[in-house]
Symmetry: C2
């Protein structure tokens, strides 16, 4: 992370959602967090928006404070709640695991009693209801034999996960994992307060067996040990992330008693070692959609010895636990008005509805939004053009890391297309103007950026010996992708009997994509319905947020199960008019109509 | 096993209990079993006691049929029930594990559903109540992907232990293990019928770390890996026994879904890897007495992948699950009249009572009854004198294997002492007569057997260059051992407010010792109260029998838990007059009074 990066950007790179209703402009003051070391000077905006007491405690605004050295940042549960209040949700910290201190009386020859019976007595009135599995009994014997009579138990729903020497009630942690096809994020959470005390992310090393889920499934079908290899890969990453947050925070492994896991259905199956091949062939059914609880050590996941892993439920073969977690985190299922929830990655999953009814689908959005198969496409990494503004004569680029541009990521591509539409260089069918026509529309300066590249007609973003440009073909790929999403929205809306333009209260753009992208541009290209900007919400990593909620609240976990059962999955290929809708949806909106919205 | 050995003896060596109320005399016909090959001709007694139909089916009497080649013998559940009818008990076969066949419908694109949901539907009406742990889901995916739609589930109490391809409902097995300090027995049982279909026994290889429990506990305290080593040892033996019965029967490992385990409290702790050191020091409390259920693979026990192991409950540090199983098998806890249950090994455990109340104790009977610390003491193996009769001039010996005697085992030692008392060569204080006195009492022939050995005054059993004799010191050791048992009976009786001679209905001699020993001799030396012979029952390996009952019947397993809670443990060293009672109990009874009993 270069010095001077704001914490908001750092968090974004780490896929940590920080609420920022004002778009990181230092206006709303909602992106507060605790940062006591390694950060730059307090800014004017912070002095205006934070109380002197808060400032002296180390509270800062993520959009203002910059990283100047190794920084330690605490996103408190309040921060998490804040993020959630955008959806009128609050979450009570009510974890599955709690700790209890007990003093075990010594047995006497007059009344010799088993250690466990002495412990149960010390645990009155709940003593008899607790099941002590063998590892806990072994620990109990070890602790008492070492001469310690104070023991701390990690208890979960009538089951003892650990027996520890002395008073360890202050140490009770869990991990929330969000397994993406590309990136995996792990957050360490204090289960007593709900506070996130560390976070780390890493690439999913399964990628060496294929960038997308289909090629990974293919690998499990061709190599007899493929499933095992991929299972070990993803668990290996989770172990690395755990190690990393342990080092960040000083928390010991044996104090991490629980984990939650979300991911798409394929990541879910590969993580659990469930044969995923049915996800790749008609009728694309998963092995299991129910929520599952397994022991971490059954999976090779290194947490406390008896730690439990709760895997959130899937909806179907194409809509996984990541979407369930996203709905949970954004509260779409709780509200009276209709919302559209869109999570775009390799696929685009869409949920539409309210507390009355929820429907969902998955669209083959294609990897265009992730920068793949685009001439200069790249991931949102240093050197990627993430935002584009076309002025009367010039093209302004915003490049990640403030370096010279190396390529363009999904949000940049959407911006370019939106801007080309706005200035008239691109027509509604998706055709770039020829240079001579363009000259009439936008003048010489901009028109000269149109040229015949080795990849066909192109618009130059950055010239010189290492240029970056967007081709007609790139635009066609984006059209296909946005058309698929848009057709999905149309079909789901019809199923609900609603008109998106009239009846939708909000569009929630989830995932890393949702955080990077300019909502106005998504609207300009017709990816989403034409609604006022105030109704377009970039919700951040909602999957990870849902995983954290399910970790700190058993109620939230139960809610996730209800969500998964409630959402109706619509298979688009079963819809007779899907192809027609898709063809319609590939056209771009009229820029004038969009401009009239504000 | 030499040719010509009766099946009754063969079963005894294998520690398989076969009921034989007539003492293997071919009179009662109760020791019937199925033996269709490798056995000798039908005897007169069998023709008298078995119906022609039974004979043609292969039913034989264990006390009559001899082994002439590799024999295959089936102890049917009827045989087990027969053994139990001596205690008016019958047991309904009602195992924890049952199998169910289901046909899983294929999912369709119109209604794509998870494999598990399809399976649950096929399992209606119980489908929703079954928990499918991860390994079962992995099996389900594998089976369905292989194109098989018929699956057989192994179900236990709402949990699926296995998902198998095709119809395997005919294969459902369990193992009952009886872990002795010296010997371990494993029986393979068909859980559908309750029939035992294979049995094997082996020495407990922990013995290389000490013959008795105290030295094994010592090893766990001196070697940091001692507990682990001993745990692995005993599990290794259990795995060998399983392998052996699998080979005997052709049953596959993955079809053995459950096991029950009994043993004394130290064997229990070592098997489970629980630190046993508290069993060796005041106040001798165990880590746990409750019944436990653990996964076989947690222990390294190789059965079906998700097999469960039910470990029966202990009563206390000195009275373990083997005694609970023995009480279960003999039904002492169910009857109105008072019974004495004695299981003699390295320790002597005693239970006295009825369905009204049960008390128990453990006595340091010492290893004399196992032949240890006796000049020519040996285990009940080939060459051991197991029975002794002193005639007017001669001494008749019964030697295991009909070879020349190499030593004497516990039952032989008790016989010798009983006979020496009867003929007057030993007085009630336990003193052997000198040769000159003896001559007057028993004549020259017998008196000449008394001689001054290198170990002190002795009575010769077998002369020549490799003699076998019993010394005064051996007799003293036996006195201490029987005195401890007898004092225990006295103290428990007082606690119950009963007079053993008047109020006890039966004395049940359990364990291998109970099978070998002549009940009349135990009475003659005052080990047990002076009751008519018809009230002395040799019950065989009641611990193993109880383990089998708990395996084939969940009711029996629940009953074992109730027994363990109901029995009151009396710590003899807490009784102020124990030493006095012990000193009194070392005297032998008056032979004339004993003779008058019949």
């Amino acid at each position: 992370m270069p010095k001077g990066t704001t914490l908001a950007r750092a968090a974004r790179v780490a896929e940590v959602a920080i609420d920022a209703p004002c778009g990181n402009r230092g206006v709303c003051g909602k992106c507060r967090l605790l940062a006591t070391q390694g950060v730059g000077e307090v800014t004017e905006a912070e002095e205006r928006l934070l109380l002197p007491r808060e400032l002296s405690e180390g509270w800062r605004l993520a959009c203002q404070a910059t990283v100047e050295a190794d920084a330690v940042v605490t996103l408190h549960s309040e921060a998490m709640q804040m993020a959630l209040t955008t959806s009128d949700l609050t979450i009570e910290v009510k974890p599955n695991v709690r700790k209890r201190l007990a003093r075990v009386a010594l047995s006497t020859l007059q009344a010799p009693r088993a250690d466990l019976d002495q412990l149960r007595e010390a645990l009155e009135p709940e003593g008899d209801g607790v099941c002590f599995p063998l590892p806990a009994l072994r620990q109990l014997a070890r602790v008492l034999r070492a001469g310690e009579d104070r023991v701390t138990l990690a208890l979960t729903d009538g089951r003892c996960l650990a027996v520890e020497a002395g008073d360890t009630t202050g140490e009770c942690y869990g991990m929330a994992f969000d397994i993406g096809t590309t990136t995996i994020v792990g957050a360490l959470v204090d289960l007593r307060s709900g506070a996130q005390i560390g976070v780390a992310s890493a690439l999913n090393t399964q990628a060496s067996f294929g960038a997308d889920v289909i090629s990974r499934i293919g690998y499990t079908m061709t190599d007899p040990e493929g499933l095992e290899v991929l299972q070990e890969r993803v668990v290996g990453v989770l172990n690395d992330l755990t190690q990393s947050v342990m080092e960040q925070s000083g928390v010991k492994r044996e104090r991490i008693y629980e984990a939650t896991v979300v991911g798409n259905t394929c990541m879910h199956h590969l993580f659990l070692g469930l044969d995923p091949r049915s996800l790749a062939v008609v009728p694309y059914n998963p092995v299991v959609v129910d929520p599952l609880t397994v022991y971490a050590n059954e999976l090779g996941l290194r947490l406390a010895p008896q730690a439990l892993v709760h895997v959130l439920p899937n909806i179907g073969g194409f809509v996984g636990a990541d979407i369930v977690a996203g709905v949970l985190a954004t509260g779409v299922h709780r509200r009276g008005e209709v919302r559209i929830f869109i999570d775009i990655g390799t696929n685009g999953e869409i949920v539409i509805g309210s507390r009355e009814r929820l429907v969902c689908c998955s669209t083959a959005a294609g990897p265009a939004f992730e920068g793949a198969q685009i001439t200069f496409g790249m991931r949102a990494a240093e050197g990627a053009i993430e935002h584009v503004h076309i002025g009367p004569d010039t093209v302004k680029l915003k490049v990640i890391g403030h370096t010279r541009p190396r390529g363009i990521c999904g949000s940049g591509l959407i911006d370019v297309v939106a801007e080309l539409l706005r200035v008239g260089l691109l027509d509604q069918t998706g055709r770039l103007l020829k240079a001579e026509q363009a000259r009439e529309v936008v003048g010489e300066k901009l028109a000269s950026r149109l040229f015949e590249s080795s990849d066909g007609l192109a618009f130059s973003l950055f010239g010189g010996p290492e240029p970056v440009y967007v081709t007609q073909r790139d635009i066609r790929k984006l059209q296909l992708a946005k058309g698929a999403i848009n057709a999905g929205i149309a079909i789901l809306s019809r199923r609900l009997g609603i008109d998106p333009e009239r009846d939708v209260q909000e569009v929630v753009l989830a995932g890393a994509f949702g955080s990077y992208v300019d909502p106005a541009s998504t609207r300009a290209i017709g990816l989403i319905p034409p609604l006022p900007l105030s109704r377009l919400i970039a919700a951040g990593n909602t999957a990870g947020m849902g995983a954290k909620m399910a970790l700190v609240s058993t109620d939230a976990r139960a809610e996730a199960a209800r969500i998964a059962r409630a959402i109706e999955y619509i298979e688009l290929s079963n819809e007779p008019d899907f192809q027609d809708r898709f063809a319609d949806a590939m056209y771009f909106p009229d820029p004038a109509a969009i401009a009239a919205l504000e």
